[in-house]
Amino acid sequence: MNDIVSGLTQAVRLIATLDANLVEISLRSLQVTLSATVIASALGLPLGAWLAVSRFRLRRVVIATLNALMGLPPVVVGLIVYVMLSRSGPLGVLGLLFTPTAMIIAQVIIITPIIASIAHQAIRELWADYHDLLISLHTTRAQRVATLLWDSRRALLTASLAGFGRAIGEVGAIMIVGGNIDHATRVLTTAIALETAKGDFAMALALGFVLIGLALAINLALHVLSGTERGSRW
């Protein structure tokens, strides 16, 4: 209990004094996670919509695989990305290992199936409602996908936020591919892991509270900006 109170106090102190280290790793956390969320949304949302409106032979297999990949173990993803980016790996020439870019790549792989699966579910329901109308209006497949993405944008925001939530709290993969290097690849989650390993539970908890606060702030900001709770009868 003492650790929790102490952690909370320390969190307030770190934020109030705008601790340079805290600001740096928080900004890096946001940079990595937001980049990964934007890239994964750009891939996952159209993929979800395309799966909803398309009929092809292995469609069910693809959807089942996508759903299964939602539970992809981050450590395994980290390991695979590590092997691919390591000097002896096929992409080693790019020199990306132990950089924020490598962390973004790992997070994109982890959260794209989550975003695509949730998007597919939401868009499939809307497609059932719109099917006859869009066929009747002689729409192309691209027009259908665009219409469904636009009209289910609020549900898709939830899909992206689910991906963001998973990414910002992720530690296993980015620890492996980022290396938790001070002033280079250290982010909030890897810093928490480090402080815990050092036995500084108060600092670890303080960083944890900051992490939770950041996640909440981003979610609230996006909901307010997108007007999710306005015009609730759309």
């Binding site: 719109y130 109308l133 009747s136 209006l137 002689h138 729409t139 219409t147 009209d151 009868r233 759309w234």
Partner: protein
């Protein structure tokens, strides 16, 4: 205006669901102008026939041939569903949607949508409000405006007034008569004999998935050819 689209020839059309025949075989030719009413009790296959003509159903047998070819015909027709399909958009954006699909700029499309809303009697409604706040009659007018905004040559309507009160029904019928007078070929279904009498130039009577009679409305009501049609007009059949 419609001479190059019609005649529409339906030959031995059949629809099956789960091995059961729900419609056909039907052979029918639609030509000329005016309003064709597909009449019959519930479950007679009216909706299925309209959907098949519009290309929304995969035929189990038979064929549908437009004079101008299917691709051209599909682009020049519109469909109003019995239950209006509401998009998660404002009333105005729902009406403008077909024009936006055609590449018309949003401002021009919304201006045309506003004029079309006015022309179908969608007045006193906040056009920038979500379509879901509309009443039943207003929703059907919105769907009609959306169907008309591309200026189709053929308009299909599936029981457009089935759930509407008398005032809304009259307003919709007024719009249909006006559009027909302007040269839009209208094909609509109803089980309402009164509505068929008020609107139809031609009647296609279906019963239990079969075509019983296709005749000019005056002839049909003066002397229906089958006992089922006679009974339906007399109100003897359950609907």
């Amino acid at each position: 205006m419609v001479t190059n689209l019609l005649p529409l020839r339906i030959t031995d059309l059949e629809l099956r669901r789960a091995g059961r025949r729900i419609l056909g075989p039907i052979s029918l030719t639609l030509e000329g102008r005016g309003i064709t009413v597909v009449l019959g009790p519930n479950g007679s296959g009216k909706t299925s026939l309209l959907r098949a003509m519009h290309g929304l159903e995969r035929l189990s047998a038979g064929r549908i041939d437009w004079a101008c070819g299917e691709a051209v015909a599909r682009a020049r027709q519109a469909f109003v569903f019995q239950t209006p399909i509401l998009m998660r958009r404002s009333v105005l954006d729902c009406i403008a949607y077909p024009l936006v699909l055609d590449g018309v700029g949003r401002r021009a499309a919304r201006a045309a949508a506003r004029a079309m809303a006015d022309s179908v009697g969608l007045t006193g409604v906040a056009l920038d409000a979500p379509a879901s706040v509309l009443s039943g009659g207003e929703r059907q007018k919105m769907a009609l405006a959306r169907a008309l905004i591309r200026q189709p040559q053929i308009l299909f309507l599936d029981e457009p007034c089935a759930n509407l009160d008398n005032a809304s029904t009259r307003e919709i019928e007024t719009v249909l008569l006006r559009e027909s007078a302007r040269g839009v070929r209208i094909v609509m279904s109803t089980h309402n004999v009164g509505q068929a009498r008020r609107l139809a130039d031609e009647i296609v009577f279906l019963f239990a998935g079969r075509l019983h009679e296709a005749a000019p409305a005056r002839e049909f009501f003066a002397g229906p050819a089958t006992p089922e049609a006679r009974a339906h007009i007399a109100g003897d059949l359950p609907t």
